[in-house]
Every structure is written in structure tokens, then in C-alpha cells.
């Protein structure tokens, strides 16, 4: 860990440009063996681009790399592996139907027979080093996400990696899973590996990193070296990082809170649940296709003005829950009521007219049509209805006029209402969605991962909109994999595990451990 030793990887003035944006701007940075280097930055800071360059998926426009003191170019993903750089991407990239060992043997030369014995030995050594226990013959699809990630780490180390890059590795883990990952990273460090730990959470960067570097808008804006980091308290590090990220800007208070995951916990006004609920699910089950998690007799009620958070590791039925509520997915059994009226068989349009809106997490996947204009996307769920259509004929003038109005009101940054939506930034696409879904007539809102992939400013904006709609008396459901987000927004937090609600607790902001346990399926 001494400064005098040669870095495992050095970046010398690395620049990467994309149309309209400099994703990495003259970044000079060293990563050392036997050190966990936390790379901190919000969405859009250029972290993913940096990984892409190190993993050989893209080439820098300017600047160069040095590996152990020697100049090197990383030409392809294979080249990156050959040079001892292993990468674990944010989303699991394993073949679910193959066994753990088979997945690990996939990268070998095509002309060499698969050596099971040798592979098993390597697997044993790596598993022992990481301190994990995984059955090498289990199909990957049956493992929990945390275990799948461990397999990914083993695969990244498979070919004797000297450098391990972990891209937002905590995003799919329970709090306990995050602890396990921390242990694994520390053992790797002791084994002399240079660990590059990429995160947008300051707390994790402090907890696991020996050194913290901060990226902002493609630039390296500062770093806290190990000698200083050791002597600093969490509070001091926080102050320093916030100063690095926002400079002398006085308006950063909200963003700092968001960055720390310490916004206003709970809400001030208690919710009145004596009246009838606005929305009710009674014993709802769904049918699942391969690889999906169905709902298993789930019941839930929402009262006006209340925010209920749904916590849980991704893939535990959240998607089905959101789609059932929206009317996009039929139920296999059970009932859904809005103001005690049975709406189980109603579709998206009918429920929308009852005031229910669904803000999907797949903004480009299903929420919008990226090739169509902003104006069209703003009316995507109203097609054919007056006053923007008259006997089925589109009144484009009116649509464009109303779009211009919304663009101003919701501060959507777009060249024109006719611009294809796909050209907008992620934050502005979310603004289009929120403008469409949170109109005056809406009374129930279902948010699925409302801040996923947004930068701090837009994250704050989205959370602000959620608070506002609750204050207006809407019943709001927020599905999120970020516990901090739910602690900040929710009145009650329900935990989903394998399609069931394991439990539901009043949000006091202090039940993190209990909720974390429930996320692994333990009863409340």
C-alpha cells in the first residue's frame, strides 16, 4: 500500500468523447495492488465509461494506460482479461441453465478439452481465498443473486487477475449481502489484488475503500489518499467529498442528503387510516413465465395521502406487483379494489380513468417510444380520447400546443416538442413520464424504482414529486431496491420476498437491520 510502489494500472490523461458529451476528461489516476480503491460519482459522472475502457470494450480518444509501469493498450475484452484485468459488471452475465463450473470454463480455448479436474482445483482455491461456499455443480439460475455475483467474481479472477473491477456491486444485494461482499473484497486485497470498487454511495465508499477518488461530469475532481483516510472520521470524509463534488456551491444541501441517503426520514403528518382504503389488493396471485417471480396471495391496502414503500431485492415479484396494479398483467386469482369497487378485470385505460397511474422503471423499455416525439409520448396513454382527438382524427395542433405548455411547466429540457424522445437525457425522460402520469385527476400513483439511473439533481426532483403528490392526498406506492430511498419517503415499508409480502412496518427510519433480515425471507 505504499505510495512508492508501482501502480497496477495507471491512467495518463485518458479522454473519451461521445456525441455531445465528454464522458472522461483527461483522467489521470493510479490503482495500486493490495488496495481497495473506491471510485465515487453519481450517475453520469463517467464511471461506466472508465470501466468500458479498462475492460477493453472501448478505446480512449486521448491518453494512455500503464500496466505495472509499462505502457499498454487494451484492445479488446479478451485482451483485458489476458492482461490480468477482471471485470464484474452491474448485471449478472452468466448462463443460468449451465452449472457454476461450466460457466467458469466457458472462456477457454475452443480446441482444448474441458479440464474438469483442473477447473475444480482452481475453483476450490478461489472459493477458499474469497471465503465463500458454493456448489460448483449447481445450475447458476438456482443460486441467489449474491451467490451469482460471487461466481462472477470468481470468473473475473479465473485467469489470475491482478486487477478486479466491481461495477456498482452492491446494487442488487441485501444489507447482509453487502457485508459479505465487503469481506470478500478485504480478502482479495490481502491476496495482493488491486480492487476497483465503483459506487454512487458515499457510505459504502467510506466503509470499504482504502482510497476514495471522486468523479464528476467526466472529470476527476479529487481524491482522499489512504494516509489521510485512515485518520478521518466518517463525518470528515463526508464533508470533504461533498466539498469535492459540489465545490463552494451553497445549494448542495439537498443533494448532499441524497448522496448520503439521509433525507428527511419518515413524514411529519400521521396518516389517517380510519376511513376506507383507496386501493386494495386481496389475496392476489399471478402466473409466472420462465425466469419471472410471480405473486403469491399478496394483500395490501393504501389510504389517501400515504406513501407505502415496497422493499426487497430485485426480482422478488416487484415487477408483477406493479404490472398487476397498473392493469398490464392479469391476475390468476384474487381481487383488486379501488374505493371498494372491484376493478380486477379492468385494463390500463379504465383504471387510469379511475385515477390510477403507473410510473414504470423501464422508461425506455416500455414507458415511452423513443423514436416518437416528446409530444406524442406525453399523450401516449390518451390516444384516441377527446379533446386531443375528434372522432378518431388526431388534432396534432392541439397536441403540440399542450406539449409546449407541459414542457414549460415541468421544465423539460428539449429543443422542441417534436424532438424524438430518445434524444433527451435520462432525467428529462423521467420528467416527461412524471408530467404524463401525475396529472391533476390522478389519485393513486405506483412508482417502480423512480430514481433508478438518475443523477442527484433529478433524483431529488423525482422524490420531490412523490412527496408533493402524497401531500395532495394521493395514495402512493413506491417500489425501490434502495432502502435509503424508502426510509426517506415512506410512511410504511413492506418487504417482498419471492412474491410474498413478508411483513410491513411503520417507517421509523431505524429498522434497517430488521428489514434487511426480512429481505432474505426471515419472518418479521
Amino acid at each position: 500500500m505504499s505510495e512508492a510502489s508501482t501502480p497496477a494500472i495507471s491512467l495518463k490523461g485518458v479522454t473519451k468523447r461521445f456525441p455531445g458529451v465528454v464522458a472522461n476528461d483527461a483522467i489521470t489516476l493510479d490503482f495500486f495492488s493490495g488496495e481497495i480503491h473506491a471510485l465515487l460519482g453519481e450517475n453520469g459522472a463517467g464511471k461506466s465509461t472508465l470501466i468500458g475502457l479498462l475492460a477493453g470494450m472501448q478505446q480512449p480518444d486521448e491518453g494512455s494506460f500503464e500496466l505495472f509501469g509499462r505502457p499498454a493498450r487494451i484492445l479488446s475484452p479478451r485482451d483485458s482479461l489476458d492482461r490480468g484485468i477482471g471485470t464484474v459488471f452491474q448485471h449478472v452475465l452468466l448462463v443460468p441453465s449451465l452449472s457454476v463450473l461450466e460457466n467458469l470454463m466457458l472462456g477457454g480455448s475452443w480446441w482444448r478439452p474441458l479440464g474438469r479436474e483442473g477447473a475444480l482445483r482452481t475453483f476450490g482455491e478461489l472459493a477458499a481465498m474469497l471465503g465463500v461456499t458454493i456448489d460448483p455443480d449447481a445450475p447458476v439460475g438456482r443460486l441467489e443473486l449474491g451467490q451469482q455475483q460471487q461466481v462472477e467474481i470468481i470468473r473475473a479472477l479465473w485467469r489470475d487477475a491482478k486487477v478486479l473491477i466491481l461495477d456498482e456491486p452492491t446494487s442488487m444485494l441485501t444489507p447482509q449481502g453487502v457485508e459479505d461482499l465487503g469481506r470478500v473484497m478485504r480478502r482479495l486485497k490481502e491476496g495482493g489484488v488491486a480492487v476497483i470498487f465503483i459506487t454512487h454511495k458515499l457510505r459504502e465508499a467510506y466503509a470499504f475503500g482504502d482510497r476514495i477518488s471522486v468523479l464528476r461530469l467526466g472529470r476527476l475532481v479529487g481524491a482522499v489518499p489512504p494516509e489521510r483516510l485512515e485518520r478521518m472520521s466518517e463525518l470528515e470524509v463526508t464533508d470533504e467529498v461533498i466539498r469535492l463534488m459540489f465545490g463552494q456551491d451553497k445549494s448542495y444541501g439537498d443533494m448532499a442528503e441524497t448522496l448520503l441517503g439521509r433525507g428527511h426520514r419518515g413524514r411529519l403528518n400521521p396518516v389517517n387510516r380510519s376511513g376506507r382504503p383507496l386501493l386494495e389488493l386481496v389475496d392476489v396471485s399471478t402466473a409466472a413465465e420462465m425466469g419471472e417471480c410471480a405473486l403469491k396471495s399478496l394483500s395490501l391496502a393504501l389510504w389517501p395521502g400515504e406513501v407505502v414503500g415496497i422493499a426487497g431485492v430485485d426480482g422478488n415479484g416487484q415487477k408483477h406487483l406493479a404490472e398487476v396494479l397498473a392493469g398490464q398483467r392479469p391476475v390468476a386469482s384474487g381481487r383488486m379494489l379501488i374505493e371498494e369497487v372491484d376493478v380486477t378485470t379492468e385494463g390500463v385505460g379504465a383504471r387510469r380513468r379511475r385515477g390510477l397511474s403507473y410510473i414504470t422503471d423501464e422508461r425506455l423499455g416500455e414507458g415511452t417510444v423513443s423514436s416518437m416525439s416528446v409530444a406524442t409520448n406525453l399523450v401516449l396513454k390518451e390516444v384516441g380520447r377527446p379533446p386531443l382527438w375528434r372522432s378518431g382524427v388526431t388534432l396534432w395542433e392541439r397536441i403540440h400546443e399542450s406539449a409546449r405548455e407541459q414542457i414549460v411547466r415541468h421544465d423539460i429540457r428539449t429543443p422542441s416538442e417534436r424532438t424524438p424522445l430518445g434524444r433527451l437525457s435520462g432525467g428529462n425522460i423521467q420528467k416527461v413520464l412524471l408530467a404524463r402520469e401525475l396529472g391533476e385527476a390522478m389519485r393513486i400513483a405506483v412508482f417502480n424504482k423512480p430514481t433508478y439511473g438518475l443523477d442527484l439533481q433529478n433524483t431529488n426532483l423525482a422524490r420531490q414529486r412523490i412527496r408533493e403528490s402524497a401531500a395532495r392526498g394521493m395514495a402512493t406506492l413506491v417500489i425501490s431496491t434502495e432502502l435509503d430511498e424508502l426510509f426517506e419517503l415512506a410512511d410504511r415499508i413492506a418487504v417482498m420476498f419471492q412474491g410474498r409480502l413478508v411483513g410491513i412496518v411503520e417507517n421509523s427510519g431505524e429498522d434497517e437491520e430488521r428489514i434487511g433480515r426480512m429481505m432474505t425471507g426471515a419472518a418479521a
Binding site: R352, E362, E366, G367, T368, M372, L380, T394, W396
Partner: protein
């Protein structure tokens, strides 16, 4: 809807056509023909002579109806490749029905009813692919192609087994008398079918750009997940798309019979379907653009058929030209995107 305006659009289409003609010239040279002679002949014959122009416009009529049908389907992301089966089956039933109806109905009623019957036959032949797609998500590219083979065979079977005109030795349907066919326009050989075809494609263009139904189809085509999310009724829309597309194509078959041939012989199959598909792509599913391309292609075809006899260049050469145009269109598009990307980055 493009932002850059008409000149750029013309250039983007015109340049590939020029390049295709240049590349085609090299092939003609290799065949030992003079390309200038060939091109001059084709255009004189297909566009610049009065007789040729009338033939070109007449040929355009069924092609335009097919294009209209394809635009509906392709805009909705449904790849109806069963054109030939739908076209031929409708043509055969039309050729069987019209000579029978004329026996007791006035001419105009015969023509209108035959057109409607042909549209229904075309639509019915798309029912199976529509059902399989809507219910079970079976890929329509496979099912429409298969149904097309079946349709072509069934058309022949119908002629030989049911509609064979007893007065003829070769298997063919009874013939609609020339006097009872679609009326000619003024003093030309062009029949009324071209009016039907142009109205149909303008109607389709209007529906796709200016109505809720058209917008729904485009949403389904551009992003089916968004269509589900927005609560669009996927199954009814799928059926409607298939039916409308195949009905228009079936009408194309009908006007070719009611306007030109008056009868269908067994084994007659002009195979227009696969010819029109690239044209519709060239026009980017735009109805107005399709009219231009269809006319252009019909002129090439008429000129090319004549050149095959006079200059001894196989008429397949016309298909070669069309494929070269498509190829260069893709190349020009790619280069354009590359340069605009560079412009933004700089």
C-alpha cells in the same frame, strides 16, 4: 417528418439510385451491352412514350394497392410476407365471381361486389397468421410465408377443380367480357383501378399519420412493450392490421383481373409481393413516397420487359437494379449517420 427538409431527402434517395445505375452500367458492360443505349431505351419505352406511360400507370395500380397493404402492416411491426398468396387467391375468386355476377347484376354493382369479395378473401387468408400471432405469439414471417405457398397452390386447385371454364382447354376461369371490366379513363388504355389504388394509398397515408388508429398501430410497431404499457388492445389491433393489410392486397389482385386480364389461368403468378416489399422500404413506409417509387419501378419493369426482347438483356436485370438501389441506400444511410455522429462529437 424528417427535420432536414425535402432537398436532403431527395439527395438521400437520389444518390443511391444514381450509384445503382452506375454500378448496373458496369454489369451491362461486362455483358457486352452499351449501358447508355439500354437506359435510354428503358426510359423511352417506360416513361417517355405515350403507350409506354399508359402501360406503366396500368401496371402501377396493383402494385400501389399492395404497397398500401404492406405499409399498414409494416408500420405496425407486422411483417406480412404472404402477399402473393393473398393476392392470387383474391384474384382467382374474383375471376370466378365477376363473370357469374355479371349475368344478373349491372356492371357497376358487379365490379363493386367483386372488389369486396376479393378484399374479404384476402383478409380471410390472413386470419390464421393473425390468430397464431395474437394468441400464441407465433412469428408471422414464417406463418404468412407458409400461408402464401398454400394460397398459391389453393388458387391453382380452385381453378382446376371448381372454376375451370368448360369452354377452354387450358385450365382457366371464365372470362369477364372486356365491355364489363373496369372503365377506362378518358381515351387511354389506363383503367379505373389506378384511381382506386391512389385513393387507397392516400387513405392509408391519412390513417397512419392523422388518426388515433394509425398512431396506435405505429406505437405497436415502434415499441410493443410501450403499447401494452399504454393499455392498447393488442389482440384486436393485430387482427385489424392483418385484415386491413391483406384486404388491400386482395383488392390489388381484383383490379388486375377486373381491369386487365378478365380471367386467371392456372399457374399465373406475377409474384408482385416480393417486388413491392423493397419499394416500401425505400419509401420508409411513407404512402406518398411509395407512389413515386412504385411508378419508377413500374416504368423500369415495362421498359425492361421490352428491352429483354429488343436488346437481349434479361428482364431480371431490373430486379438487379432494384437490389443495387437498396444496397446503396443502406451504404449512403450508414455513411450519413457516421458523418453526423462525427459532426456532433467535434
Amino acid at each position: 417528418m424528417s427535420a432536414e427538409g425535402l432537398p436532403a431527402a431527395v439527395l438521400r434517395v437520389g444518390l443511391p439510385i444514381l450509384l445503382a445505375f452506375a454500378a448496373g452500367a458496369l454489369i451491362l458492360l461486362a455483358l457486352g451491352k452499351n449501358p447508355l443505349d439500354y437506359y435510354a431505351f428503358v426510359f423511352r419505352r417506360g416513361l417517355l412514350s405515350w403507350a409506354g406511360l399508359q402501360e406503366t400507370i396500368t401496371r402501377s395500380a396493383p402494385l400501389l394497392l399492395i404497397a398500401a397493404g404492406l405499409i399498414v402492416a409494416f408500420r405496425a411491426g407486422i411483417w406480412n410476407l404472404g402477399v402473393d398468396g393473398q393476392f392470387l387467391l383474391a384474384a382467382v375468386v374474383c375471376a370466378a365471381v365477376a363473370p357469374w355476377l355479371i349475368g344478373f347484376l349491372p356492371r357497376w354493382l358487379t365490379l363493386v361486389s367483386s372488389l369486396i369479395v376479393a378484399a374479404l378473401v384476402g383478409a380471410s387468408w390472413s386470419l390464421v397468421p393473425a390468430l397464431l400471432k395474437a394468441r400464441y405469439g407465433v412469428n408471422e414471417i414464417i406463418t404468412t410465408l407458409m400461408m402464401s405457398f398454400l394460397g398459391i397452390s389453393l388458387a391453382n386447385v380452385l381453378i382446376k377443380a371448381a372454376f375451370w371454364d368448360p369452354a377452354t382447354t387450358v385450365p382457366q376461369t371464365r372470362t369477364l367480357p372486356v365491355a364489363s371490366r373496369l372503365p377506362r379513363l378518358f381515351d387511354t388504355t389506363i383503367h379505373f383501378g389506378i384511381v382506386i389504388a391512389v385513393v387507397a394509398i392516400l387513405f392509408v397515408h391519412f390513417v397512419m399519420t392523422r388518426t388515433a388508429f394509425g398512431l396506435k398501430l405505429r406505437i405497436v410497431g415502434a415499441n410493443p412493450h410501450a403499447a401494452v404499457h399504454a393499455g392498447l388492445p393488442m389482440a384486436p389491433l393485430t387482427f385489424a392490421t392483418f385484415a386491413l393489410s391483406a384486404a388491400l392486397i386482395g383488392m390489388g389482385g381484383a383490379i388486375e383481373i377486373l381491369g386487365v386480364h378478365g380471367t386467371v389461368r392456372a399457374d399465373w403468378n406475377p409474384a408482385y409481393g416480393l417486388l413491392v416489399i423493397p419499394l416500401v422500404f425505400l419509401a420508409r413506409f411513407n404512402g406518398l413516397g411509395s407512389i413515386v417509387f412504385v411508378l419508377f419501378f413500374a416504368a423500369l419493369q415495362i421498359g425492361g420487359e421490352s428491352a429483354a426482347r429488343r436488346l437481349d438483356v434479361p428482364h431480371y436485370y431490373v430486379l438487379l437494379l432494384v437490389s443495387l438501389v437498396l444496397l446503396f441506400l443502406a451504404i449512403v444511410e450508414y455513411l450519413d449517420q457516421q458523418s453526423s455522429r462525427r459532426r456532433v462529437a467535434a
